[in-house]
């Protein structure tokens, strides 16, 4: 394992400290936990809390700030944070308007957030949650835990965050978050694996000519292995699956071409070049495009494509100002 770290044990905390020190006037870390909150607590609005395992930077701490999250709780690498830490985060940002937790659909995340919300309810904090499940690679059925929550989560942060800033009620913020979830779809792939620092070796192996289609953001396997193909062919495979899932025709969309951590922007732009042309041909109108690393898997190489179907409300909230380390509008 070759990584720019100081010790395996210190990875998460030093990462969070470094993030906070990159924006010391805007972010603060809670004592005794890897919990990032806004430097100035904002009253009179619904507070948004998210989080999950570390290793997805800039998610989620990088999206704490005006117009997006109030708090992000970081667990160990690829491991959900524990209920006590999530509860501390909820407590730190809770307002009379309530708290909305944005949870990615992974069993661990859901269980730990549920326990934390039980603890918050016991303290008379008004708290509710939404579960993001945008990954079309995995089957949503009675026979699985449901679709995973991946890069589309960032758009839930953005739009629910904007809604919360308007002073909307907890019910209204939750409703708009669910509207985003209903309209956002993502699919990803990897060309090389990543190494969890504590494990010391890659979570899976891919031969020189192999790729994994439908990969999750923790290096967990996707739908199938394939032979490497051109960027355009791979992007087409992912897009076709997304476009087949809900009807995007003649609709305006936000496109996110998201790097998995070790993919150069050069390649992401090559992907985007195809994505834009292909969507145009398919009759999908691109309202805005985000290209970059938003929801990563440490140093995995690969990318995901996310499409969010917009309506007037979502468009307006998407365009609302945001000032966070990883996303500004």
């Amino acid at each position: 394992m070759k990584k720019l770290i100081n010790s395996v044990e210190a990875v998460e905390e030093q990462m969070i400290l470094g993030l906070v020190k990159s924006a010391p006037d805007k972010l603060r870390k809670l004592e005794g936990g890897n919990v990032v909150v806004r430097a100035q607590k904002k009253a009179n609005k619904v507070a948004l809390v998210s989080g999950g395992g570390s290793g997805h930077e800039p998610a989620h701490g990088g999206f704490v700030g005006e117009g997006m999250l109030d708090c992000a709780v970081a667990g160990a690498v690829f491991t959900s944070p524990t209920p006590d830490k999530i509860f501390e985060g909820i407590q730190a940002v809770a307002t009379d308007a309530g708290v909305l937790c944005i949870v990615k659909n992974y069993t661990g995340d859901v269980l730990n957030f549920e326990m934390a919300m039980d603890m918050a309810s016991d303290e008379d904090i008004k708290v509710d949650h939404v579960v993001v499940n945008d990954d079309v690679a995995v089957q949503d059925s009675l026979y699985t835990t449901g679709r995973r929550g991946v890069a589309g989560t960032i758009l839930v942060h953005k739009i629910a965050g904007a809604k919360a800033e308007t002073g909307a009620s907890l019910e209204e913020v939750k409703a708009v978050a669910e509207k985003v979830i209903a309209n956002v779809r993502t699919m990803g792939m990897a060309i090389s694996p990543c190494t969890v620092p504590a494990a010391g070796k890659p979570g899976f192996e891919l031969a020189e000519d192999e790729i994994e289609i439908g990969i999750g953001i923790h290096g967990e396997p996707g739908t199938h292995r394939d032979k490497i193909a051109s960027a355009d062919e791979i992007a087409k495979t992912l897009l076709d699956k997304i476009l087949a899932d809900i009807d995007y025709k003649n609709r305006e969309v936000v496109v996110m071409v998201n790097g998995m951590g070790a993919t150069p922007l050069m390649e992401l732009y090559i992907i985007n070049n195809f994505v834009q042309d292909y969507l145009k041909e398919a009759g999908v109108k691109v309202y805005d495009t985000m290209v970059g690393n938003f929801m990563t898997s440490i140093e995995m190489a690969g990318f995901s494509i996310t499409l969010l179907r917009l309506d007037d409300e979502l468009k307006k909230l998407y365009d609302a100002p945001a000032d966070t380390p990883a996303l500004k509008r």
């Binding site: 209920p83 835990t145 969890v196 923790h218």
Partner: protein
Amino acid sequence: MIDTKKILEIIAAIAKKIEAEKDFLTELDNEIGDGDHGINLARGFKSVEEKLPGLADKDIGAILKGVGMQLVSTVGGASGPLYGTAFMKAGNVCKGKKNLTAEEFAAAFEAAIGGIKMRGKAVEGEKTMLDALCPAYKALKDGIDGGKNFLDALKDGVDAAAEGVEYTKTIIATKGRASYLKERSLGHQDPGATSSLYMLQTTLEVLQRS
């Protein structure tokens, strides 16, 4: 009879066993999950071990509850809330007790399984820790009800758990992260069922020693 001293010994021995099997559990999880089961459980039980001296003069209920809370706050992932809830629920049943009879041990075990089912919204046959724990409980209970001595009944339980782990190789996961693999999860034993088996094996080993 199982007294508080034995319970503390069992917990300490489980911590050692999980640490020893950490890499193997992680290996199993790499195949069908996200490869952190051993790492997470070992981190949790290490912190449990550090807490044990502070629990030494408590009753069995308080010890098990303390173990559960520590697991919940240090393991993370899905196994933290699941094992944490299991120990806390078992603790509830043993409240105020300094000794457990065979029947009381079985009742605590049953409560632990109930906690896992409730928190994980899972049942047997979904390729989870329940596939080791449920048959183990049934064998233990049948043994006790049939008049076997406790250690023999517990041995039946451990054997049933081992069979349960084997059984997880033959079924498709429908809960947890392995569920996404569908038929690709076949042939792999479930890491959670495996760690559950280790806990039961270790319990038996400690009790057999005395």
